[in-house]
């Protein structure tokens, strides 16, 4: 089954957003964190003279890959296999989870250590592993916080962005039984280190996602900040990597572009502290068994629509989330998907063929801040509009909206009709007008006047004034 976390069961965005807006602490946390990353990103992007050229290059490479996806996937499989890796193909979330569980079971293992991976959140791998009696341990600090708190990630790069230090300290005190844990960042990371180190040394199966899968070498690349990832991909005997099919890049040389744009966009760093690239297996060094699971899970549905396929260009940097004024108000949970923010608003519904999450393409004022910062130049506002169009034409918009739009289109289809509509509006507004303002309108316009006045339609329109003044 194609699945994007729990998105199919999520409430509509406006309802979830309303709840989030009522949480002042959450909003303070999100605002502070996005602001910090945004400023760091702006500083390191600003120092790049060729930033726009890099964006163009990144976009072109990704578009090229999408055009020849099958070719590059097979090339990757061939080169990875030649280097000693084993490649599996998964049509959807369930198939991917089953492949992973099967590998772990074959080795009679009961635990795995995980590097941060959004894709396994997409397939809900942890729940599937637990149901199969296998314990997954998240080793990325933020993902560990999410796992210990039975929480959901609220940001693509910084999953626990909605939590502040005090909340994390309380969580660690409770779940790690550390009543005397101090409040400083060093205390918290120290606690996580002690908690995780023992697992790094004991657990025999590592699991990762991939930032890039490189076709011409069959290599996999993971970038990270904490070093936990490096341990997960080097210490265990067995390593499993889950890769969305769109993560393919043609050549090792293409990393030149992506390893410049990704860290600067994601965390505001010139380079990630840890850049792990590995190819197959090497006797006596690192994991002795390496599996790659190539996942579709709706990606080929996205690929099928030429007008919006560039959604798959995404390298999951999260810059659009940090730039988005809507995300900044609501945080990520309101999107009901592990992919939140502007990219989530276009990716989540498309992966599910617009069967679910159809309120997400409307969760944007179309301000364009996302497109401006996107390092691979995904025209998110245009895709939002395209998805709205598909919803209107294929799924059907709500009746009230359709009627209002039809009426507006009728009135705007000729100037005499518009004049009549203006006259009718003047009559209709009379019961609601006070001092030239409308403050309490019924129906759908109540959503406007609940917190905003609306100017009343004045006695004379511009066209009437012109006619009287200039042609009369």
């Amino acid at each position: 089954m194609i699945r994007v976390g729990d998105a199919a069961r999520a409430p509509e965005f406006p309802d979830a957003a309303r709840r989030a807006l009522g949480n002042a602490q959450l909003r303070r946390n999100v605002r502070h964190a996005t602001e910090v990353i945004r400023n760091k990103r702006a500083a390191v992007v600003g120092e790049m003279a060729d930033w726009q050229a890099l964006r163009d290059a990144a976009h072109e490479i990704k578009d090229h890959v999408l055009t020849y996806l099958a070719v590059y996937l097979e090339q990757f499989e061939e080169n990875c296999t030649r280097a000693g890796g084993q490649v599996h193909w998964a049509r959807d979330a369930d198939e991917a989870n089953a492949i992973v569980i099967d590998i772990v079971r074959r080795h009679s293992e009961r635990e795995i250590i995980k590097v941060k991976t959004m894709t396994s959140d997409e397939t809900r791998l942890n729940a599937a592993l637990e149901a199969a009696g296998i314990a997954p341990y998240e080793t990325d600090l933020a993902d560990l916080i999410i796992q210990l708190g039975h929480d959901q990630p609220s940001h693509i790069v910084v999953p626990a962005l909605h939590k502040n230090r005090t909340e994390i300290r309380e969580l660690f005190q409770r779940t790690m039984k550390l009543e005397t844990l101090g409040p400083d960042p060093q205390d918290l990371t120290g606690a996580a280190r002690t908690f995780l180190r023992e697992k790094f040394l004991r657990v025999n199966v590592g699991f990762s996602g991939a930032n890039f899968a490189i076709a011409d070498t069959g290599s996999v690349c993971v970038v990270e900040s904490e070093g936990n990832g490096r341990m997960c991909v080097t210490l265990p005997e067995i390593l499993i990597t889950l890769v969305g099919v769109e993560k393919i890049i043609p050549s090792f040389l293409d990393l030149e572009v992506f390893l410049q744009v990704l860290p600067r966009s994601a965390t505001g760093e010139r380079m990630n502290p840890y850049n792990s690239i590995w190819t197959g297996v090497r006797r006596g060094d690192g994991p002795q068994e390496f599996h790659v699971v190539l996942l579709d899970n709706g990606r080929t549905n996205v690929l099928a629509d030429e007008k919006s396929r560039e959604t798959l260009d995404c390298i999951r940097c999260g810059a659009c989330l940090n730039a988005c004024p809507v995300y900044r108000q609501t945080g990520g949970h309101a999107y009901g998907s592990i992919y939140s923010g502007p990219i989530g608003a276009i990716l989540t519904p498309q992966l599910q063929s617009l069967e679910h999450s159809t309120s997400l393409p409307y969760a944007s004022s179309l301000c364009g801040a996302c497109y401006e910062v996107c390092p691979v130049k995904i025209n998110i506002p245009d895709i939002l509009i395209h998805l709205r169009r598909k919803i209107v034409e294929e799924k059907g918009a709500p009746l009230g909206e359709r009627m209002a739009m039809k009426a507006a289109a009728f009135a705007l289809n000729g100037s005499s009709r518009l004049s009549i509509a203006q006259t009718l509006a003047r009559i209709a507004q009379r019961p609601f007008e006070h001092d030239g303002r409308l403050t309490n309108l019924p129906g759908p316009l109540a959503a406007w006047t609940v917190a905003r006045d609306l100017p009343a339609v004045p006695a004379e329109s511009f066209r009437e004034w012109w006619k009287r003044e200039r042609e009369g």
Partner: protein, 266 residues
């Protein structure tokens, strides 16, 4: 120069004073203004909401109405962005070479009001007088689609008596976003609250912009909060003249605060 005014549907209906101010400023500068009465709407609301077929017919109407107009002035940055960014895509969608040609010919003839003054007519001092403290909101479409940021600043800086104060976080959306303001009213209002906070920080009396749609939203919030700050389209400030300022205050558009109105002679 003969300048054809596309007033836009919502300015025509809700903000006629903006249109009158545009006419005053352009005529004061010695230009002739025409108003083609058959005009209605650029189709932006329908296009952005996914009603592509309706937007298409509005584009066709626009093309017919403004056929042969050499310079088209639009006092709304988002409507200009609609034409410049999306009309070519709609034309591609229709797949008719003649329509495509008409759109290609149209796009370079369309100017946002402040862009027309500064970039095309090469004027920054329009002889205006407006003795108030003003801050400038930059609509997202002006900022990111049209790259019209400096033009209104240069125009306002040349207005006598006017003190221009920078708006903090001026690259952030005010939360209007067309139907977004209704479909996601709570988020829209939360974004507006941030914008209003920034406006109040400036201590300005007036928040100006090149687009009444953002201003309708911000002004609606300001009034609901009983704020004394008012919103005004930049054209109405540029129309203000010494001795004339506030002349039409009594009979002017309802809802515009008396005394702060630009107005001037017609």
């Amino acid at each position: 120069m003969l300048i054809s005014l596309f007033i836009t549907c919502y300015n025509d209906t809700l903000f006629p004073e903006t249109g009158k101010a545009v006419v005053r400023v352009l005529e004061r500068l010695g230009h002739e203004v025409e108003f083609r009465a058959a005009q209605t709407c650029c189709g932006q609301m329908h296009y952005n909401s996914g009603y592509a077929a309706d937007a298409r017919s509005m584009m066709r109407l626009f093309l017919r109405v403004f056929d042969g107009a050499d310079v088209i002035c639009i006092p709304s940055s988002s409507c200009v962005a609609m034409i410049r960014e999306h009309y070519p895509k709609i034309a591609d969608d229709i797949g008719d070479a003649a329509i495509r040609q008409q759109v290609e010919a149209l796009v370079p003839r369309v100017y946002e009001f402040s862009e027309l003054l500064v970039d095309k007519l090469r004027v920054t001092d329009v002889g205006a007088y407006y003795p108030h403290t003003v801050t400038l909101h930059t609509p997202c479409h002006a900022l990111r689609a049209l790259h019209v940021r400096e033009q209104p600043i240069r125009l306002l800086r040349s207005v006598r008596g006017l003190q221009l104060v920078d708006l903090p976080r001026s690259d952030e959306c005010c939360g209007f976003g067309g139907t977004f303001a209704l479909k996601n009213a709570d988020v829209s209002v939360a974004m507006m609250a941030d914008k209003i906070g920034c406006i109040h920080e400036t201590k300005a009396e007036i928040c100006a912009a090149t687009d009444n749609s953002c201003l309708m939203h911000i002004d609606g919030g300001l009034r609901r909060q009983q704020s004394n700050v008012r919103c005004l389209h930049i054209a109405e400030i540029l129309a203000g003249r010494e001795g004339r300022e506030g002349r039409e205050g009594q009979e002017g558009q309802e809802g515009r605060q008396e005394g702060l109105k630009g107005s001037g002679d017609v």
